[in-house]
C-alpha cells in the first residue's frame, strides 16, 4: 500500500531475498520488433508550457488519499482511520499529525475534539476547494509543484470507489495547478502490485491521458515536461521486500509506455541503495539496465537516516549517485523529508517522532546536503502525508492538538508557526531556483 519500507524492516526483508536467489534478465525477454522499424520520435508542442524540465525545481509528493465522513467520496475516514484498532476515534487513528484547519472552507466534524470540547474538523481532498487551498499554499510559499500519487492497487477496476476518488483528486489538482501555475505530474506507486497490475497501469495511463487531455499544452500548461516529453513517474522498482512484481515487469511496462516513439519521459522511483544494489535493493543489475532507459532517478530516502547519521549515510551515496547519473546522462533527484512519525499507525508509542524534525534542522540539512553535493532538484516527501508524519503542509502545533484518548498526536513544534515547513521548503525552492544567500545554515525566518 504505502511507502512504509523503513530500515527497521530491512534485516527481515534482506534475509528473505538472500535465501531465494532471483534471476532476472531485465527487459531483454521481449523480442525486438522484427524487422526493426524506423519510428519517428514523438514531438510535443511546448508552447506556453511553464515547466519544461524538473531541473531547478523543488516538488513534493501529494498523497490526496484522505476522505472525510460526509464528503461525496463515500469512503468514510479513509486513511485517517486505522483498522488495527477499530477505526477513527480517540485512541485510534492512522495519522500522527493533525491538519491545521484554520484556512479550509469546507470542513467535516470528526470524532475528535479539542480540550475545550469543541470539535476538531477535517478536510477532504475530494473537495475542490481543499485541494485548491493546498495549491495556493504551494504558490504562496514557493514550492514548484507536486507529484500526484496514484496507487495502482487503489485504482484497479475491482476498486471503482478508489479509482473515482483518485480521479477526482487529480481533477481537482489539475485545475488548481493551472490556476496557481504549479507544476504537476502523475506518479504511479507500484507497491502491492502483482505483475498483472503492473501491466494494467498502461491502460489506466492511457485513460488518464484522454480523460484529462493531460498532454494538451493549452489545457494543462503546467503538466511537467522533461527532455521534451511529458513526464511520468513510476515508483517502487528494485526494492528487495519481496514484491509480487519484478524489475522485468517494470521494464516491460516502461518500454511500452515510452514506446518506440518515446512518448514520455520517466522518473523512476528506486530504493536508496539502488546504485550499489545492496541493503534495501534487489541484487540485480537489471535495475541499472532499466534505470538507463529512464530519464530521472529518484531514490527513496525516508527512514534511511536521521539528523545524526545523515552526513555519514547520505554523503557517499549522493556523490556516487550523482556521478553515476552524470556518466549515464540521467537526471538525479534526491529526496528530502522533514521527519518521520507513525506511532498511531503502528500502535507503538515508541514510534512517535521516530525521526525527529528538530525544528527544520533535519530537513535543511538534507536540502543543503543535496545542493552542496550537486543535486539540481528536490523531491520532498511529502506534501500531505501525515500517516507517516512526513507532511510539510500546515499542521496543528503541539499546543493545539485534539485529544486522543490513551494515544496522542504529534504537533508542529510550539516555537514554530504551523506553516513553518511549507516556508522552509519554499526557501529550498528559492535556493534550487538559483537565488543566493543560502548555505548549510538553516535560514532564519
Amino acid at each position: 500500500m504505502k511507502k512504509l519500507t523503513t530500515v527497521l524492516l530491512m534485516p527481515l526483508l534482506l534475509a528473505i531475498t538472500c535465501c531465494s536467489k532471483k534471476t532476472q534478465s531485465g527487459g531483454d525477454n521481449n523480442p525486438p520488433p522484427n524487422p526493426p522499424q524506423e519510428v519517428e520520435e514523438a514531438v510535443y508542442d511546448e508552447t506556453g508550457c511553464l515547466y519544461t524540465s524538473y531541473r531547478n525545481l523543488v516538488m513534493a509528493g501529494y498523497q490526496g488519499w484522505f476522505a472525510a465522513e460526509g464528503d461525496e467520496s463515500n469512503r468514510g475516514w479513509y486513511h485517517f482511520q486505522n483498522g488495527s484498532c477499530g477505526g477513527f476515534k480517540p485512541g485510534c487513528s492512522a495519522v500522527d499529525f493533525w491538519p491545521d484547519m484554520t484556512e479550509y472552507t469546507k470542513k467535516y466534524p470528526s470524532p475528535f475534539s479539542f480540550a475545550n470540547g469543541s470539535n476538531a474538523p477535517l478536510y477532504s481532498p475530494y473537495d475542490e476547494e481543499s485541494v485548491d487551498l493546498h495549491f495556493k499554499w504551494m504558490k504562496d510559499y514557493g514550492i514548484d509543484g507536486v507529484f500526484m500519487q496514484r496507487f495502482v492497487v487503489e485504482i484497479k477496476e475491482s476498486n471503482p470507489s478508489g479509482k473515482r476518488h483518485f480521479n477526482k483528486v487529480l481533477e481537482n489538482a489539475l485545475k488548481a495547478a493551472e490556476k496557481y501555475q504549479r507544476a504537476i505530474c502523475v506518479m504511479y506507486d507500484l507497491s502491492g502490485c502483482s505483475a498483472a497490475d503492473v501491466a494494467y497501469l498502461e491502460k489506466d495511463w492511457n485513460e488518464l491521458q484522454s480523460l484529462f487531455s493531460l498532454f494538451d499544452n493549452k489545457k494543462h500548461p503546467t503538466y511537467i515536461r522533461h527532455n521534451g516529453k511529458p513526464l511520468l513517474s513510476i515508483w517502487g522498482v528494485g526494492f528487495n521486500d519481496n514484491r509480487q512484481y519484478s524489475i522485468a515487469d517494470a521494464d516491460a511496462l516502461i518500454s511500452k509506455l515510452k514506446g518506440p516513439e518515446k512518448k514520455i519521459s520517466v522518473m523512476l522511483g528506486v530504493p536508496y541503495y539502488w546504485r550499489t544494489l545492496s541493503k534495501d535493493t534487489e541484487s540485480s543489475s537489471a535495475l541499472h539496465t532499466l534505470a538507463k532507459k529512464c530519464d530521472i532517478i529518484m531514490p527513496w530516502a525516508v527512514g534511511r537516516y536521521n539528523n545524526d547519521s545523515y552526513n555519514n549515510v547520505a554523503g557517499g551515496e549522493l556523490a556516487g549517485d550523482i556521478q553515476w547519473c552524470q556518466a549515464n546522462k540521467l537526471d538525479y533527484v534526491p529526496l528530502v523529508f522533514p521527519g518521520f512519525s507513525w506511532g498511531n499507525l503502528k500502535n507503538d508509542v515508541n514510534a512517535y517522532n521516530s525521526i525527529p524534525r528538530l525544528k527544520g534542522d533535519f530537513l535543511w540539512k538534507q536540502v543543503a546536503g543535496a545542493k552542496i553535493s550537486g543535486a539540481k532538484s528536490l523531491y520532498v516527501a511529502m506534501f500531505d502525508e501525515i500517516d507517516e508524519g512526513t507532511g510539510i503542509y500546515k499542521c496543528a502545533k503541539e499546543d493545539a492538538l485534539p485529544l486522543h484518548g490513551d494515544k496522542k498526536f504529534v504537533g508542529i513544534e510550539n516555537e514554530l508557526a504551523s506553516d513553518y515547513y511549507l516556508w522552509l521548503t519554499g526557501q529550498a525552492g528559492k535556493w534550487f531556483r538559483g537565488e543566493s544567500g543560502f548555505s548549510a545554515t538553516k535560514p532564519a525566518r
Binding site: N311, G315, G316, A319, I372
Partner: protein, 225 residues
C-alpha cells in the same frame, strides 16, 4: 558445513591433487591509474590497507574475488592474470565510488579510473622547523560528510602513510572542514628520537580521512626531509 560435504570436498581435493598442472602460466596483465577528474593528477593512495581493486574472473562459479592493491602514487599493476573477461571494481577507496567495469584482458591491458577524491589537500607545505616537522595545508572536500581526522605521518620508506608510519601526529576533526582554514600538524623529532634517528632522512606525508564507511585517507605527495 555438513560432514558429508566435507568428505566430498576432501575427496575432490584429493582428486585434483593427483592431476598434473598442465595449464599455461598467466600471460596477461592489467595496469592503470586513478586520475583526479578535476586536476588530472594521480590520486595518492596507501600501499597497505588502501584502496583495493576487486577483480572477478568470469566463467568460474566459485565467487572468489581477487584483490589488487594500488600503489602510493595512484597506479596499479598485475601482470599475472589469465586472459579472460573480468569485472573490475575499485572498492574501499578514497574517492567517490565508481562503477565496476567489465573488461576483456588480453596481453597487457590498461584501464584508468577517472575519479573524484573525497578530499583534496591544497597549499601543502611540510618543512623542518628546528626540531619539529610542521605540515600545513587546506582541505577541499567533495562530499558533505565529516572529516574524521587529519594526520602527518613519518617513515623511512617513501610509501609512508597512515598505515605505514613510524610516527604519526593526528588530529580528530569529526566535522566538515572549513575550506579557508589552514590546518597545521607537527611532529617533534626529539620526542621520537628512538624511531626518527637524528641525521637520517625520513619521508613525511599529510593526509585526511573522510567519514564514509571504510573509506581511505586522501594524501598529498610525500616529502623527504
Amino acid at each position: 558445513m555438513n560432514k558429508i560435504i566435507s568428505i566430498l570436498f576432501i575427496g575432490l581435493l584429493a582428486f585434483t591433487s593427483c592431476k598434473k598442472d598442465n595449464y599455461d602460466a598467466p600471460n596477461a596483465g592489467l595496469s592503470g591509474r586513478f586520475v583526479d577528474a578535476e586536476t588530472g593528477e594521480l590520486v595518492q593512495q596507501d600501499i597497505i590497507r588502501g584502496t583495493q581493486i576487486e577483480i572477478f574472473e568470469h566463467g568460474y562459479g566459485t565467487g572468489q574475488l581477487q584483490y589488487l592493491i594500488v600503489k602510493n602514487d595512484g597506479t596499479y599493476e598485475n601482470s599475472l592474470l589469465f586472459a579472460n573477461t573480468y569485472t573490475i571494481k575499485p572498492v574501499r577507496g578514497n574517492f567517490i565510488a565508481v562503477e565496476p567495469q567489465d573488461i576483456n584482458i588480453q596481453g597487457k591491458t590498461t584501464l584508468d579510473f577517472t575519479v573524484t577524491p573525497y578530499i583534496r589537500l591544497k597549499d601543502v607545505s611540510i618543512n623542518k622547523n628546528g626540531n619539529k616537522v610542521v605540515a600545513s595545508f587546506k582541505l577541499e572536500q567533495k562530499v558533505i560528510n565529516n572529516i574524521k581526522k587529519i594526520g602527518l605521518y613519518a617513515h623511512s620508506d617513501s610509501r609512508v602513510g597512515e598505515p605505514m608510519r613510524l610516527v604519526a601526529a593526528e588530529q580528530e576533526l569529526n566535522a566538515v572542514s572549513d575550506p579557508n582554514h589552514t590546518y597545521t600538524l607537527e611532529i617533534d623529532l626529539d620526542a621520537n628520537s628512538s624511531v626518527l634517528k637524528a641525521g637520517t632522512s625520513y619521508y613525511f606525508r599529510a593526509g585526511a580521512l573522510i567519514d564514509i564507511g571504510d573509506a581511505k585517507l586522501n594524501y598529498a605527495p610525500a616529502v623527504k626531509l
